[in-house]
Amino acid sequence: MTFSSSYLFSLTTFIYMGAAALYLTHWIFRVQKVGLLATVVTVGGFVIQTVGIGLRWIESYQLGYGHAPLSNLYESLVFFSWVTVLVYLIIEWQVKQRVIGAFATPFASLAMAYASFSPNIEDKIQPLIPALKSNWLIIHVITCFLGYASFAVACGLGIMYLIKNRFSGGSAGMMGVIPDCKVLDELIHQTIIFGFLWLTLGIITGAIWANDAWGTYWSWDPKETWSLITWFVYATALHARFVRGWAGRRIAYLAIVGFVSVMFTYFGVNFLLSGLHSYGSQ
């Protein structure tokens, strides 16, 4: 079993870590060719990971379970890193700024490293428990993770903004290659808008599913409540632009705080709080 999905995912982990290192090198030493290489490596990793996800789906059918690879923590981490890379590559292609990669790809490689190396994460393909047997599973997970991944990128952009803002004096060297604060602010805003739409859709599809499965579209389960808290944070970020003195730095902070909230919704709720979404912790 060399050509299995888990083999491809291990490979992806190393490729993404390499890509993150290349993006960082590109930023620190400002060598254009390294940046191009970073993009090529990332795209290569993305293709391998995509094949891996498809393969895992097929393997689940071969085992007789037959479900999309979105059913437990391991699979969700793989998917999270996949979507993060996708969202990042779209942004890189749109704004032609490779420096952002130094702040975005680490999220994807960390997620893969966590999935691959943590001893507590079950990476076997398991059958679906009755609660997860629904067409809403795929839609709900995809919408949520499109949101999560966008917010990861927005967080990276927020960190860039704060670095640039703090060392604004240096327009040369490492600071010089970071886009202007104005450009970053606009990028953060656009990324948050995109993520917010998907988070909202994720909450709505979750509500529809819960209404089908548990008989109530909202039960203040910790996972639900934390997704709402995250929603409040990003709604704040979207409105803060209209408040004098809030645009720029404070929104960059909100992009980071928002992502902390996303992370808590994703992991914290599973490990620290109990609730209906506990299957996410296995």
Binding site: P127, A207, I208, F232, V233, T236
Partner: protein, 453 residues
Amino acid sequence: MKASSSTYQDTSIWRFFSSVRLAVFLLITLAITSIIGTVIPQGESLHLYLETYGPTFFRIIKVLHLNDTYHSWWYLILLGLFSTNLVVCTLRRLPFTLKLCRRDNLSVDSGRLLKMPFKKDWEIKEELDNDSTQSIISTFKRVAGKFHERADVDGGRLFLAERGKWSYWGVYGLHGSILIIFFGALVGLFLGFKGSVMLPEGETIDHIVNRQTQENIPLGFSVRCDRFKISFYDNGAPKEYRSDLTVLNNDKEVFHKSIVVNDPMEYKGVTFYQASYRAIPEVTVQVAKSGTPQRSLTISAFQKALWPEEQLSFGLMQYMPDVHGMPAAQIWIGDQEGRSGNFWLLKGKEKEFQQGENLYRISLSNAKQRYLTGLQVKKDPGVWIVWLGCTVLIVGFTMVFWVPHRRMWLWIGRRKGKTIVILSGQTNKNKLQFEKNIRKIEEALNSSLGARQ
């Protein structure tokens, strides 16, 4: 604004409730306070909080209703303020939007056009003939789309292609949708119910138990559980919980449905969900008084079985499905005088027992699990309002952030013996795409007019 001309819109309280600052404050407050209910367990009995948190913190929990945070008075006040903020914002913004939508974008002069974010003008020495003018207009139309025309503006012809003006209404949809969702939730709260029932196989119910008040809610019809079945994967994990239900109206069967998790049954606005199950053991014993024929009795857990001829009651105290490969049951026996005793019975081994003056023989002939299906039952007439609100929310959001209001003007006129052509435009979002489009017109006009400048 002077005091005399100030309307109700300018009172300070009105301004307070319509401010974005308040919205930001409320969103942050809601985000922070919502954490409380995820840390403190919700809906437990009060003495449990006293035990866990001690008397001081318990008092805070009680006053602030932290055992039911999201329905506490202060959380509802926050949501009320949030709604007020939304309504007042909407009302305050409305006149501006109406003005924006009623504004006649054709009543601009050529000077204004030259102050737009995107502009380009050409000066041509000679007068344009009809054909060249038409070709300019059709170039404009090809990229800009449908347009309106006004003659004699500043001594020239003015063309306006405007798109997406309606997108200004998106924000009302977006904000209104939150209120629609709140309204739907209230409808469900006041006109619906949530309850549950444990229904043994083969039995029928005509009411359920309210989850909050523990009161009985009559259904107006009956539901019978014909069968409950649980199946497993090879690795032992549960695969499916299935209840075969029958709806009865005045003892007449009207509807069958087999429900599983994620596939509930709905009848007359009431929905039944597969939520849980319980298995209770049930044993069948053969009893006989010496000299009389054998009799079969079925004893369920938690229920006494009666042997009427002998005035004896039987109960099942314990059940073990596998004792040396055989099921075993601890049977309780009592008579009318209040005398009772118990003993273990292993399948395949007959036992004798004395009760009063009589001697009896008893044997365990059959043992099985009897299932109770746990159903979640709810009625929520507000759920469609909530879905409507969600739809409006998404549509409104898309309008606000992705539908631009864009205007492109073209002016063709004569000044000081020269022909002047002005192209200008403005958009409120997606400037990049807009610039691309207007550059397309510019280039086309450049190639047709450039030579004649």
